[in-house]
Amino acid sequence: MIQKLSLYLSYPFVRYALIVGVLIALCSSLLGVTLVLKRFSFIGDGLSHVAFGAMAIASVLKVTNTTVVILPVTMICAVLLLRTGQNTKIKGDAAIAMISVGALAFGYLLMHLFSTSSNLAGDVCSTLFGSTSFVTLTKKDVWLCVILSVIILAVFVFFYHKIFDVTFDENFARAVGTRADTYNLLIAVIIALIIVLALNLVGSLLISALVIFPALSAMRVFKSFRAVTICSAVLSVVCALTGILISIIAGTPVGATIVAVDVAAFGIFCLIGRG
């Protein structure tokens, strides 16, 4: 088994996969706590479906670098979804459901109507559940991922306390003059970035799992915001690494394997939390 692993690790694309996997897992877990606590768990899900729709448009338009289309579209939707949080006729969860299934249907429709590929079902499946292998990752993809991850990490560390402030008590934050809207917008933009990043790894249906599972697991055991954040980041990285390695050895789909490991970790943390 170790032989098989070291053989695989000698291929550059496997190493790329590990780097990208770890970075995506790290970034996606950071905002998990905030999203879960703001009751926005499903925003990741909604946005990833939007990303799916955007990807369909990009492939119909035959854009080679699909990120150019997906990123702005997802960001705009993220901003719209967070904006509709309060005082609107369509409440937050309903708005997310609407946008999410709408984008999903629209995307599939477009792919069906205009696709030139002979293996449509395969294309759709890999967009929804992540590619079965990482062969498609190029050096450019990896660099893009590294740069975006560094930006996300830096922004998160710099605004860590502000994110805590607007998550714990938005009204208090506003009352003492913190510009809560700006920080909510920042949170939305970071989520959109993370989702676009994670789209290749786990596919659009499984992204929310990467975002919420580590946070929920950490919340079972730890008692301060800082401990929960650090624990969910570490846990997410460990789960992603384990998942990728298992998928290499057992030949299982990468995205689904990582999520399965996350679910198992959640079970373990639940038991620890009770004990």
Partner: protein, 235 residues
Amino acid sequence: MAQITCKDLTLGYETGVVAEHISFSVEEGDYLCIVGENGSGKSTLMKTLLGLTPPLGGKIETGDGLRLTEIGYLPQQTVVQRDFPASVREIVQSGCQARKGLRPFYNKEEKRIAEEAMDRMGIRQFENHCYRELSGGQQQRVLLARALCATRKILLLDEPVSGLDPIASADMYQLIRELNREGITIIMISHDLGAAVQDANRVLHIGKNVFFGTRDEYLASSIGRYYMMAEEEKF
């Protein structure tokens, strides 16, 4: 000069007016109690004072060098907070967020302010405990400590004893009384008319009829007498 002066305020949202013709002023060291029926606009008034909701009409002026962001605010608990994983220290410290500005971390001075506030509220021994595991009364003390980090002048309390048992409520009123004696202006919204009016030196009653005056004037007015009677009939 009064710390806060409101002139003929009209409160409400885009959807409609909630309350109008509200005028009152708060002097340094006052203990103002805001009472009124459900839906009379008490919470809206508080949001307007905090600058969360702009007034539809009228004016809010501040004096004595008070800025609107220097008001310490004790909000009602939200659903989010009930299962929020945060330590007491983290929450109290967040009261210094305005002082901190864009600096990414809290400095020594801000940590000291937070520690002082915890000492004052008697919750220093819980500083590393999880907020959601504290009792209702202790949670209110944490939020009060946070409000104290944000201000030295004026506190706005939104139903500070809602959800507390009678002993914790009495304890909370005692704390508020002490802070008021130390010179901090108190503005409090309350349902608990009897207890509230006992401590307050001024009363603002909003609803169909608006009343603003000292406590004794309120108790002597027709609207105040009517309300105190209803309060006594509860028992």
